[in-house]
């Protein structure tokens, strides 16, 4: 990869020229943004040109009255967040590292945020995009409207495809009303079981929760404490009413919440940001994201714990019980332990996705697990139809896509 040429076009037209040139030369392109989620995909066997979107920046269209924003792929996520916030909008997903993420990168990696419980996964917010294909065409997928069923939803294919089907050059996203008030609730519980229970109580009483997490703050072999964190946001009267209900149904959880723009409200927000940052994969600790049905999550966490302990690994879990998602930070991994953790999770009905593995571990691994995704043959046909000459680097997704 070190031999790859880096190109950073300033416009979609220039990007088209880069792709056509690479296609003509038979070179293989790897699209990149900030590079923060490169380790979320498998290592490409061959890359000749790194096509960076870092110069492909800027907002193409944002009419606040419409609630939709369209930006070029290299636009920084944090900049967009700040822009729309000035007009009372919230940009979902709420991600831990917005300053080092681009619009194109978030979309290509299919990154959802800490607000997923409230707003759904990233793919629900992507209204359309423009994509540069391997043949150097610019294809419009979807549009800039909040509702639209014209033609196939090709943007759904590109969302999460890590650029294997083309370069996502421009994206249109649906915006939401920014919450008026934010509240944070934090409580320590003695066992993980108590954590599941408290989380369940919060979820039953809450309609406005952005996220409810059960954090593992301990080292293996030690007991407690566990942290339960909940974030609630929305219009001020609704949040106040909900907190009243939560204080009744989940009294162990103290809440930090004040009127909009007050010191306490800002502190609540800081706590939020801190919790969201906890989700950030550690620089040295790779993360394993396991997903399953919410009811199967406790068993998956137990299986993960047991397997890690058997390997003598250090592991910390951050679980989102309503979503059936657990992120495990793990230190001391080797190739064998990767496989055994995968097996343990698969037997508990969970699917794995490794993030942040060091290159030497990532090479030769399928970070999406060994199980082939259903419909792999069809996915290959689709890839070959959209990028017949293999202009974009392959082998980066599950099943060698």
């Amino acid at each position: 990869m070190s031999t790859a040429t880096v190109r950073a076009p300033h416009s979609i037209e220039a990007a088209v020229a880069c792709v056509r040139e690479a296609a003509r030369d038979g070179a293989v392109i790897l699209p990149t943004g900030c590079g923060s989620k490169r380790s979320w995909a498998n290592a490409a066997p061959r890359v000749d040109v790194e096509l960076s979107t870092r110069a492909l920046t800027g907002v193409v269209a944002y009419e606040p009255g419409e609630g939709v924003i369209t930006a070029l792929a290299g636009t920084c996520w944090a900049e967009l967040q700040e822009l729309v916030a000035r007009h009372g909008h919230h940009l979902s997903p709420w991600i831990p590292d917005p300053a080092s993420a681009t619009v194109g990168g978030v979309v290509a990696a299919g990154q959802s945020g800490a607000d997923r419980l409230r707003y759904g996964p990233l793919r629900h917010h992507v209204l359309g995009m423009r994509v540069v294909t391997g043949a150097g065409q610019v294809v419009q997928c979807g549009g800039r409207l909040v509702k639209n069923v014209t033609g196939f939803d090709l943007h759904r294919l590109h969302t999460g495809a890590h650029g294997t089907l083309g370069l996502v050059a421009e994206v249109s996203l649906r915006l939401h009303a920014a919450p008026e008030v934010r509240a944070a609730g934090l409580a320590f519980v003695p066992t993980r079981q108590a954590g599941w229970q408290l989380a369940g109580e919060i979820l039953r009483a809450s309609r406005l929760a952005w996220t409810v997490m059960v954090h593992d703050l301990v080292r293996p072999g030690q007991s407690g404490p566990w942290l339960v964190a909940a974030l609630v946001a929305g219009p001020a009267p609704a949040v106040r009413a909900e907190l009243a209900a939560l204080r009744r149904d989940a009294p162990q959880l103290p809440w930090l919440c004040g009127a909009p723009q007050t010191e306490e409200e800002r502190r609540a927000h800081d706590v939020w940001s801190g919790i969201v940052a906890l989700e950030r994969p550690g620089a040295t600790w790779p993360t394993l994201r396991a997903t399953t049905l919410p009811t199967a999550l406790p068993a998956a966490c137990d299986a993960l714990d047991a397997a890690a302990r058997a390997q003598g690994l250090e592991v910390k879990l951050v679980a989102q019980p309503a979503l059936g998602v657990v992120d495990a930070w793990i230190r001391g991994l080797g190739p064998d332990s990767l496989a055994s953790l995968e097996v343990a999770l698969a037997s508990a009905g969970a699917r794995v996705h490794w993030r942040g593995l060091p290159d030497e571990l990532r090479r030769g691994q399928d970070i999406f697990g060994k199980a082939e995704p259903a419909g792999l043959a069809l996915m290959r046909r689709l890839r070959d139809a959209l990028d017949p000459r293999g202009t974009f680097a392959r082998g980066r997704l599950a099943g060698g896509l």
């Binding site: 793919r123 639209n148 699917r351």
Partner: protein
């Protein structure tokens, strides 16, 4: 149809599963787009995934085109049969296979009726969000095919947001199980691509959908306006103010007259030129704050009366009236052409004015009843299909409306699909390169182009099929 093919199909579907008699095939010659007709060679009614796959294998072996059909309530001709083709209906796949209240999901057969799923979910304190106006008849499979929506799509989004997984049968008859317990697809999002593919990529036989908890409180509000423009401007204001009720609908006077003359009479005021129907759900405080913030904006735009439904009964009647508006238009004329287009929500009043002018210029009446909060227009044009001249003017008006919509950055369809109806306009909405990408996707799934040919994608290979629809596949 070749007698041997019929026998092979009977062998896999049983005698009841193959309709060959003319009288029994006749009602399948059209869906909700009643003017487009074509008698299918056969109608097949499989009972499950296995039978669907077996039937598709037989049809693939003989190269016979296939048109999937749910309840035939679609309005874009998505289920209009094609010459020499068969219809595969899902009407005998009506079982709710599992309802998992703890994980808030349900697995249903494709022919389960939308409202039936809603009723089953309600027993567990849950609901299925997409609520097309035809929800009492339309099927989840049909909703998946069209990526259907409805009034509450304003808050909850279209079908695609609520589909977690699919079992589908490919055009060759292979079964693909894309039901997944995890949240994000590994590999490409085939489910996301399939939803809204209008029957071109195969037949979904089992669908896993997300269910939502029923809100503790739902309130419905009516705002009365003296002109349609003000009602539309009020909607633009609500959107700009980032208020999030669950539904924002507009009904004009002609629509209200038709509804109030029907069994669905709900007490809509007949003296208003336009009515905004709004709904908010959530906790008491949430609903109160949302509706409280909305009312002054409506008054500022000239709403002369703003009131709330008194009780659940009135609420239910208002919605039944809104959802039956299309059928109620049958009182105005024998046929009704329902346009479906989306415009930016900042341009609502302007485009509604244009659509009315377009119809008036052609001597046509038009009733507007639409999902205003999403910018999803539905100009309804009553006509009589026995009058060929009138039908031609209706279609011309439909085309002119689409041009006006495209000119402001709108889209051809928000929920009814392209189908047969709008295939001629696809070339105006997309560049040749855009369409080429879509054709490549279709060819990757269905190289023989046997699934619902002549719909959605205007490709040369589709042109040999034609119907008696005057705008049919010849375009």
């Amino acid at each position: 149809m070749d007698a041997r093919v019929v026998e092979e199909l009977r062998a896999v579907l049983g005698r009841d599963g193959v309709l060959a008699e003319r009288a029994r095939r006749t009602p399948y010659e059209a869906d909700g787009l009643a003017f487009a007709r074509c008698l299918p060679e056969l109608v097949l009614l499989p009972r499950d995934t296995r039978e669907t796959a077996a039937a598709l294998r037989v049809l693939a072996a003989h190269g016979i085109p296939v048109v999937p059909r749910g309840a035939g309530t679609g309005l874009s001709g998505g289920a209009t049969p094609v010459e020499g083709g068969v219809v595969i209906g899902t009407a005998r796949m009506r079982r709710i296979l599992a309802l998992d209240a703890d994980n808030r999901l349900a697995r249903v057969q494709a022919g389960v009726v939308n409202a039936d799923l809603g009723r089953a979910a309600a027993r567990h304190g849950l609901f299925y969000a997409p609520d097309p106006s035809s929800q009492k008849a339309c099927t989840i499979g049909g909703n998946v095919g069209e990526n259907s929506s409805g009034p509450h799509g304003f808050r909850h989004g279209s079908t695609t947001r609520h589909v977690l997984g699919l079992v589908l049968v490919t055009p060759e008859g292979d079964v693909l199980d894309l039901s997944r317990p995890e949240h994000d697809p590994h590999g490409y999002d085939l489910v996301g691509l399939f939803v809204g593919s209008e029957g071109l990529l195969g037949i979904a036989t089992e669908i896993t959908v997300a269910l939502l908890p029923l809100p503790p409180l739902v309130e419905t509000m009516l705002a009365l306006f003296r002109d349609l423009d003000s009602a539309c401007d009020a909607v633009s204001d609500l959107v700009a103010a980032r208020l999030e009720p669950t539904a924002i609908e507009v009904l004009d006077q002609l629509t209200i007259e038709a509804v109030e003359a029907s069994v669905l009479a709900a007490g809509y005021p007949k003296d208003a030129a336009a009515v905004l129907l709004l709904e908010s759900e959530g906790s008491e405080a949430e609903v109160a704050s949302t509706l409280g913030a909305i009312e002054p904006l409506l008054r500022a735009r000239g709403a002369f009366e703003v009131r709330r439904a008194r009780d659940e009964l009135e609420r239910a009647r208002l919605w039944a009236g809104r959802k039956g508006a299309y059928g109620a238009m049958g009182r105005v004329a024998p046929d009704l052409y329902v346009c479906d287009a989306v415009v930016p929500r900042t341009r609502l009043a302007e485009i509604v004015r244009v659509t009315i002018a377009i119809c008036q210029a052609r001597g046509l009446r038009v009733a507007n009843v639409f999902h205003a909060g999403d910018g999803n227009l539905h100009p309804n044009i009553p006509y009589d299909r026995r009058d060929a001249g009138q039908l031609a003017r209706v279609l011309e008006a439909g085309d002119a409306i689409l041009d006006a919509v495209l000119a402001v950055g709108g889209s051809l369809t928000g929920e009814h699909g392209v189908g047969l109806e709008k295939i001629g306009a696809m070339g105006r909405a997309f560049s040749p390169d855009d369409l080429d990408a879509q054709c490549r996707v279709r060819d990757a799934w269905d190289p023989a182009r046997r699934m619902n040919p002549g719909k959605l994608l205007p490709v040369h290979a589709c042109r040999e099929t034609h119907t008696r629809d005057p705008r049919g596949g010849a375009r």
